[in-house]
């Protein structure tokens, strides 16, 4: 998480895609961009949760810097010149999406989130029309032991939104991640079936923030899982107001 700066913040001026902006210096590039209608693609970033910087879809170029930075975890600075949509960036994003699609089994046509999936939308938005990397076709389990919800690891992109919302908003910390690298998997409690979890309150926040069909409500058939994205900004606002 980015540490909160002091209250006497300065206002800085900078450029995003050749347009002049000014913002508080404690704001991140993605915050300013989104507030001003510049849709930098992202999967793991979610307003109201801590910053994770895992998906790398929000990478941007900063003029004069030799490396790409993730816009969710980089603050704006005085004189910064940011490019959000260059051809190399588009190519990187498509590649990242192709890697995500090839890593697990994202079969959109028969997924409960078909038509309402952030990964699917991003693939369309970024013009990903083929996956050039061989699919891994690795076998992943579905845990349907919970009365209300189901986790399908085939559809998980390891964004950890579920882990963060459970810890930071609900305070239960039922979710966490297990393993390393390509073998990483989100787990409930100490890798017990979700239905046997002692810590899960059944609030469903993890399901609502999940960008794909990995966490879904029981009883949903193909294309029926609509997620409520409004509750998190609302909860955050209410908490800030207190």
């Amino acid at each position: 998480m980015i540490p909160t700066p002091a209250t006497n913040v300065r206002v800085v001026t900078f450029k995003i895609d050749d347009r002049d902006f000014s913002a508080r210096e404690d704001e991140t590039i993605i915050q300013v961009a989104w507030e001003n209608g510049i849709r930098i693609p992202s999967l793991c970033y979610l307003e109201g949760l801590s910053v994770w910087g895992a998906c790398r879809l929000c990478v941007v170029e900063i003029v004069g810097s030799p490396r790409l930075v993730s816009s969710c975890s980089t603050r704006v600075a005085e004189g910064m010149e940011i490019r959000t949509d260059t051809e190399p960036l588009q190519a990187y994003r498509r590649m990242i999406l192709e890697l995500l699609f090839s890593e697990r089994n994202h079969v959109c046509s028969v997924c409960v989130s078909n038509g309402h999936c952030e990964l699917q939308n991003l693939a369309q938005q970024c013009g990903m029309d083929h996956v050039r990397i061989p699919y891994r076709n690795a076998a992943y389990q579905v845990d349907s032991s919970h009365d209300l919800f189901r986790v399908d690891h085939n559809r998980c992109v390891l964004c950890t939104r579920c882990v963060r919302v459970c810890d930071e908003i609900e305070g239960a910390h039922t979710w966490d991640s297990m393993g390393r690298g390509i073998h990483t998997q989100v787990i409930t409690d100490l890798n017990r079936p979700w239905g046997e979890s002692d810590s899960c309150t059944g609030c469903g926040k993890c399901v609502q923030v999940c960008p794909t069909g990995a966490l879904v409500q029981q009883g949903t058939s193909v294309g029926e899982m609509h997620k409520d994205r409004q509750f998190l900004p609302y909860l955050s606002r209410m908490r800030d107001a207190q």
């Binding site: 028969v110 032991s145 029981q218 193909v222």
Partner: protein, 475 residues
């Protein structure tokens, strides 16, 4: 010297197949086989998935008859929920099933088979297709395309998509029917009926010239298996299994869905990916039976709609003896069913209850086993599921309409080949007749593919001079 003729690929069918003809020293056909060469694997990769995905997932088996899988799967899932679905949902499912029957039969008759019937078995193969029909008889080609469009449009109006609508779900369907959509659908039906009757009348005039084909195209005694309604009438969505023998005697009647394992067994042969279902009490391969339009018309007491019943009476005059045993008359039966589908849809859509807003029964899985049965365009379709306590699939068996006809198709291929193929002066038209007997059954091979055990395999590694270096054998 004996030799083998391979017809590959078999054209104007759904899926990939090959026919091999074994010729003896005199160039006559000794044996003939129909091979399904593609493999899908649905029964295996569905294991571990939530049962609620099954209707949409199994529908992906096929782009021609997805509605059949969608509905049969939804019916199997209704059993897992242990619910009786709301009446409006059942009626709407029936409408969609009939719309699919219409479009699939139109595809089979006009697009796939009419080139043989109109242009002739021996005509130029480059023109023997729907484009050739367009040149020869544009009005008929137009009729075929329009009829199929009507069926597909009704599917789209109900399900939101022409192909693979995610519309039927465990417990019912996803959205009720609006008055406007109902009227839009009903407006299409009169035109469809005019086309269907016109085609039927035209086809009747062609029948006399196909007497030789009717005699030899899969014309042999078998049993016939289909669903019938409580009154013994034509039925496509629900009902009970009836089996008639070749003399027209009822062998099994009013067999409920869950008893299908008592009467249907499945055999496996190494030369094809398609299983061989058979009537269990008579054993394999004696228990040969046929399904599909021919079987349905042979088995039912009546259609229950006015024009279709007239056509049914005429269908039954095709042969002196009954039931009609020539597979060539599948084409005729398809046209009768097209009329039936249009009349039945109109009847269902007139029902005011079809607009009811209660269209889905909600429950969680209450049983660990469910069987769904319906009549697909090509015959009886069975989805049989088992799930665990968490609602994940543990086992699945799909018995596909085309599979039921496998024994008969092999026998039909042999009959036609022995009649027409002369190895000493081979002509393309001879082989086309062998393919055409398969088209009578309108097989859907993408649906009917299965694997059982390991495929026998033989791999040889040869060097550049062709000498065998190493080999691997399995099976």
């Amino acid at each position: 010297m004996s030799r083998t003729i391979a017809i590959e690929p078999v054209t104007r069918i759904e899926g990939h197949a090959r026919i091999t003809l074994q010729l003896n020293d005199e160039g006559r056909v000794d044996d003939a086989r129909f091979h399904l060469t593609q493999f899908r694997g649905f029964e295996k990769f569905c294991e571990g998935r939530p049962y609620r995905e099954m209707p949409a997932l199994t529908a992906r088996t096929c782009g021609i008859c997805p509605v059949s899988h969608l509905l049969t799967s939804a019916k199997a899932c209704d059993e897992l929920l242990s619910v009786k679905i709301p009446p409006a949902a059942e009626k709407l499912r029936r409408v969609m099933n009939l719309a699919q029957l219409l479009q699939s039969h139109a595809l089979s008759f006009f697009h796939l088979s009419s080139p043989d019937l109109l242009l002739g078995w021996d005509s130029d193969p480059a023109r023997r297709n729907i484009f050739g029909v367009m040149t020869e008889n544009p009005a008929m080609a137009k009729d075929g395309i329009r009829l199929r469009q009507i069926g597909q449009s009704i599917i789209e109006m109900l399900g939101g998509k022409k192909v693979h609508p995610n519309w039927a779900v465990p417990g019912g369907i996803v959205r009720p029917l609006s008055e406007e959509t109902r009227e839009a659908m009903r407006k299409l039906l009169p035109e469809g009926l005019v086309i269907a009757k016109r085609t039927y009348a035209f086809y009747k005039t062609l029948i006399p010239q196909f007497a030789a084909e009717a005699e030899t195209f899969g014309n042999f005694p078998t049993m016939f298996l289909s669903l019938v309604s409580a009154k013994g009438n034509l039925e496509h969505y629900d009902g009970w299994i009836r089996i008639k023998d070749a003399k027209g005697n009822i062998v099994e009647d009013m067999v409920p869905t869950e008893e299908y394992p008592r009467i249907i067994g499945e055999a496996v042969e190494p030369f094809t990916y398609m299983k061989f279902p058979y009537y269990k009490p008579q054993g394999y391969p004696r228990g040969i039976y046929r399904v599909g339009p021919l079987a349905r018309l042979n088995n039912c007491n009546s259609c229950g709609t006015p024009f279709a019943d007239v056509a049914l009476a005429e269908f039954r005059t095709l042969q002196e003896s009954r039931p009609v045993t020539s597979s060539f008359h599948y084409h005729y039966a398809r046209l009768v069913e097209i009329i039936y589908a249009l009349e039945s849809m109109d009847r269902l859509l007139r029902d005011p209850d079809i607009l009811a807003t209660r269209i889905r029964a909600r429950a969680r899985s209450n049983r660990d086993e469910g069987i769904g049965i319906a009549e697909a365009p090509r015959g009886l379709l069975i989805h049989h599921y088992r799930i665990d306590d968490d609602g994940l699939m543990t086992w699945m068996n799909l018995i596909i309409a085309t599979g039921h006809n496998n024994l008969a198709m092999n026998q039909g291929v042999k009959q036609v080949a022995q009649e027409y193929v002369d190895g000493s002066k081979l002509q393309e038209g001879m082989l086309n007749r062998v393919e055409a007997v398969i088209r009578c059954f309108d097989p859907c091979l993408s649906c009917a593919s299965h694997a059982f055990g390991q495929m026998p395999m033989h791999i040889e590694l040869r060097d550049a001079d062709g000498h065998l270096v190493d080999q691997l054998k399995r099976g």
